[in-house]
Symmetry: C2
DNA sequence: CGACTTGCTTGATAATGCTCAAGGCGAGAC
DNA sequence: GTCTCGCCTTGAGCATTATCAAGCAAGTCG
């Protein structure tokens, strides 16, 4: 390892997966990994391809898209900076179950699965971090299924915005991270429905103007959501 | 380990997770695990409880239910014999993200997570089996999200039946494994909608009479599904 | 500059699935 | 037997959301 690995090391350290790793191991992994850039829309890996590597989002957003034989596509999730994806499939050397694409311009760290397999054999504790990361993903999927089955479009939109705000109460001001079309697909609704949902949420203290969002009171919005469901 | 562990060992061996484990390890795990029975509807673990163990379904069906603060419930999945569940959360000692209940009368093997942690530390290869099992679950969730976002109720019902048939072509004859209400919840539709869907599928060579299902030609049904979506 | 493209909104219409409500049917209790 | 309960089906009306279509605003390109 030489000094030129510094940015890669920094990238690895930004991921929850590697946060508890001691320096020597991190350096070894970094030495055999590299940073990659992708323009918005560019593919990262394709559904069905053999999974030999996994990724960390260093900057930007990645979307995970699943395609059916008939061509219809579902957007499964998006990943933000600091998140790893495809770790589990890569470790077992299966096929990627979905296609990953850059949702915005994106910087990634690519990690060869074999490296991690070696490290796990040498130091099994690392396996627990992998399992934890995967459990994280599972939990996220669980929440998504719950939302799809139980919540209306408006409710999903509101919850999505609350998630973006990264606060539990008070006012929030932030930008939508990507296209409204992508957001609509993430939530499993049509783009038109998203547009109308934004309109209806205005009555709940949510203002969307272009990519800019302003929520008057997150606590209040939350409370209204719970009341609606009861 | 004594001879009385034999049924437990057989139970472990039925799970994909343990299929590649050498006997001595399997025996050690079996010695510290035990079989449990639950009546239909009985809880196995509760959402939010600390996860210290995971389970193998030895006989019957288990359903995984997620409850929202407002009381609404979504059925996330069901597990059949030979499947493990909650391995990942148990390994990391988190909280169960959902409640598991017996969907039918059920026999389970309960495995203390600490035992597996010990075995992984001693023999890291086992970790790969754990990760594989978890990747399996992830893949299943991915498919479910895809279905919820892209398919109509009728299509989901048809695909569910095809999955139960465990064949790719020809005629099939089998029994529904549990209540139609549970099936409806699994698919994220109302019970009435399920009932009507069965009616509409009659035109596609599917006959449902009570718990008994007869599909005239699975290949044909599959083909019709693909055509509808295109 | 004007023509085009892209991303978003808005409107009208149709389909899908939910809810409420009323039976039917079978199994077990008495 | 018949009563009753739970499960399932069927019907009618309603709410939500998709789809089709048109229009608008901002940016891009020749």
């Amino acid at each position: 390892m030489t000094g030129q690995d510094a940015p890669v090391i920094a990238a690895l350290r930004s991921a929850a997966l590697f946060s508890s790793l001691p320096d020597p191991i991190l350096n070894r992994i970094a030495a055999r990994s590299r940073l990659e850039k992708r323009a918005a829309g560019a593919p990262i890996f394709m559904q069905g391809a053999p999974a030999q590597a996994f990724f960390i989002v260093v900057e930007g957003w990645v979307k995970l898209v699943r395609t059916r034989p008939d061509g219809r596509q579902a957007l499964l999730t998006t990943f933000a900076r600091g998140e790893t994806f495809a770790e589990a499939v890569a470790m077992i050397g299966g096929q990627y179950p979905a296609t990953a694409m850059a949702a915005t311009e994106v910087t990634l760290a690519r990690i060869d699965a074999e490296i991690l397999r070696e490290e796990i054999r040498a130091r099994p504790e690392i396996a627990f971090d992998m399992i934890a990361a995967t459990a994280q993903h599972l939990h996220h999927m669980v929440r998504q299924i719950e939302q799809l089955k139980l919540q209306s479009g408006d409710e999903r939109v509101a919850e999505f915005l609350i998630g973006l705000a990264e606060k539990d109460s008070g006012a929030a001001d932030f930008a939508l991270p990507f296209d409204k079309r992508v957001i609509a697909n993430t939530l499993g609704i049509a783009q038109e429905t998203l547009s109308r949902a934004f309109g209806r949420l205005r009555a709940f203290g949510v203002d969307v103007d272009g990519a800019h969002v302003r929520i008057r009171d997150i606590g209040d919005l939350r409370a209204r959501l719970e009341r609606r469901g009861a």
